[in-house]
Symmetry: C3
Subunit: 132 residues, 3 copies
């Protein structure tokens, strides 16, 4: 359990935290509030992420992600659902976003080989189907 | 932790996996991307699910669900939040949807009697209020 | 794992349950359906929550929250994503909402000092950045 300080980028903060604590595999769960979040939508036809830039403060209704390895480094993959001032929800892959509040719970998964991301086209996907 | 292969139906895949691994009780957490997802909204007045058919690819911002028993078989109950190409979010009970990417973390819950779903009207609800 | 009975307020129910079971620290995960939910959006300029009152039944696509301490009492902080009859999603901080169905999984976190909420302006934030 941790709280990210205001003003940091959420993805950077999580990456630094996981590196410092050497958490190679885990489940991430966050609620809070983000400023100017940028979310990605993967355009399958173009094989690329399109950026959706949201302005202002959004309730971080849920951040759900995982920690795994990509090119020998820890990689945070985080999807978010954001609520705007009218309660309308926006959702996608979090590219960046400034923390206003972030209450984070990380469940470290131990005793397993961490999944490794390999490039497949323009996506980096886990190399395994089952780790059981 | 597992990744579902592209092209399979997500609910079918999870059901088969849980059966194969004999996971009777658990918490499911997924991020990824789905093609042509169909979500349900339970219409209380009509006591039935209405189907909402979405077309194309959607970011699976979050899939949250559980595994329990229904008529002596494993049953996956999964709700999803989906992001479209404009970042707008759609949400409901997942009826079906083709996997493009699905990074799945299942937390098996052991040491407890699994909850059993019983029919109440047109819903199948857990037979217990507390398992502690 | 538990199911909240129909008709109760979800936040009240969770608070009572955590008090009864003396769960001071935990992660909450819920799927279900809520009637007349009221969600909050924190207006940073005004330093206050604005209430968004939704009418009717909504799929509770995801409820994500945590249990911590505030003024020596257990405090439930829960964010929700709700799906309406058209599948459109609404999201924010849950202020209140009547349970129609609520399948709840609480992961108790033990062996750590529970985070304590302290007032900072009009928000009650955890007093620590890392509990590791």
């Amino acid at each position: 359990m941790l709280r990210a300080p205001p003003g940091v980028d959420l993805i950077d903060y999580l990456t630094n935290f996981a590196e410092k604590e050497n958490i190679q595999t885990g489940l991430i769960n966050i609620i809070g509030s983000l400023k100017n979040p940028v979310i990605g939508y993967y355009n399958v036809e173009r094989s690329m992420y399109e950026e959706i830039k949201l302005k202002g403060f959004y309730e971080l209704a849920h951040g759900s992600g995982n920690i795994s390895l990509k090119e020998n480094k820890l990689f945070i993959h985080l999807h978010v659902v954001l609520g705007d001032k009218n309660g309308k929800a926006h959702a996608g892959h979090l590219l960046r976003g400034e923390v206003f509040v972030a209450e984070i719970i990380i469940l470290e998964i131990t005793g397993e080989k961490p999944p490794v991301r390999k490039q497949q086209g323009n996506l980096w996907l886990w190399d395994i189907y089952h780790i059981t």
